[in-house]
């Protein structure tokens, strides 16, 4: 899922300072699971903002709403009827949701309430770690199911590099060497012959290097 992190409240307070009618808009998908922008976080942020302005003796309308998704037309349409009630929307969705809402409601200021971090997994309670960089051409079949693009600091395709020590990466003792993990897994799978195959030069045109990407599927278009 997409991992996001709550923005500091003071930053959001600064952003909404000049608006009087604000909608805090949550998203029921990834940001709910990573506890950054779901219904609960919407309630907390809205309550905190209301109190902040109340304590200053300022009157503002701060409403709460959480949509099923903010990256789909049908759910974003749900707020169309109420949109005129607000001067600004603070979206707690990932960057995709914020932008999609901004595209849909052209004259409505949209402010992000979270920092979108990466595509990752919920490794432990309170711990989310990156697993994918959406490079657009998956090589996990060859690398024992461990991704050197997202997990190797150098994105090395034939590793490990000389910076791998005791299974850790040279950038930090807390970062596993992805290629050590790959070798360990290939050994466990009894597929070390895969390790011997030299990887061809990766086609990075499917990554961000090729510009913004899109998927068009004629088979599902109506």
């Amino acid at each position: 899922m997409i991992i996001a992190k709550k923005k500091p409240i003071e930053e959001i307070i600064g952003e909404v300072e000049n608006f009087d009618r604000i909608l805090i808009l949550g998203c029921n998908e990834c940001v709910t699971v990573c506890e950054a922008g779901g219904k609960k976080e919407v309630e907390i942020l809205a309550s905190a903002l209301r109190m902040n302005f109340m304590a200053q003796g300022r009157e503002k309308t701060i409403d709460e709403r959480t949509l099923e998704r903010q990256c789909d037309h049908e759910y974003l349409e749900e707020i169309r009827a109420d949109i005129d009630k607000y001067d600004a929307i603070v979206s707690l969705a990932c960057g995709v949701g914020v932008q999609f809402a901004a595209e849909k409601y052209l004259t409505m200021p949209l402010l992000p309430g979270v920092n979108t971090v990466c595509l990752g997994a919920n490794e432990d309670r309170g711990l989310w770690t990156e697993r994918c960089q959406a490079c657009g051409s998956c090589i996990l079949a060859r690398t024992g199911g461990i991704c050197p693009v997202s997990r190797c600091a150098k994105r090395v395709m034939n590793g490990p590099c000389g910076g791998s020590t005791n299974g850790k990466c040279e950038i930090s003792k807390d970062v596993d060497c992805a290629w050590q993990l790959i070798v360990d897994r290939l050994k466990a799978l009894d597929k070390m012959e895969d390790y011997e195959k030299v990887a061809p030069i990766k086609d990075w045109s499917t990554d961000r290097a090729g510009g913004p990407r899109k998927v068009t599927r004629e088979d599902v278009k109506i």
Binding site: A48, M51, N52, M54
Partner: protein
């Protein structure tokens, strides 16, 4: 026991302090409470193993938020005691009452009073 406790707070019963969320604390202040304290079981004695630890974390977060919005995190506190410790409960209630009186009314309550006065 017939212990004396301050009469100016309301007890809200929950099955376990693990039920208490950040928003519950914030809502109390938004409605004009001057302080809130959460009383959980002794650490390590939770029937649900970690309910009181969850509560402690949430109280810490509520404190940070209240500090940032100008209400003051000092107005919230978590206590731990066992169900047999009535006198300690009374002592904590008095301690909290004194602390809140020292801090004075919450800015939210003052703002609400001012608004009502203007409206009248």
């Amino acid at each position: 026991m017939r212990l004396k406790i301050p009469a100016n707070f309301r007890i809200i019963r929950v099955p376990c302090t693990g039920k208490v969320d950040i928003i519950h604390i914030l809502r109390a202040f938004e409605k004009g409470a001057d302080g809130a304290f959460v009383v959980g079981c002794m650490e390590g004695d939770c029937h649900y193993n970690e309910g009181n630890f969850r509560a402690r974390k949430r109280i810490e977060q509520a404190k940070l938020i209240l500090d940032k919005v100008g209400v003051g995190g000092d107005r919230v506190k978590m206590f731990n005691l066992s169900s047999g410790e009535g006198p300690l409960f009374a002592q904590y209630a008095i301690e909290m009452d004194n602390k809140i009186k020292e801090l004075g009314p919450s800015p939210i309550r003052l703002a609400k009073q001012k608004k009502n006065k203007n409206a009248a």
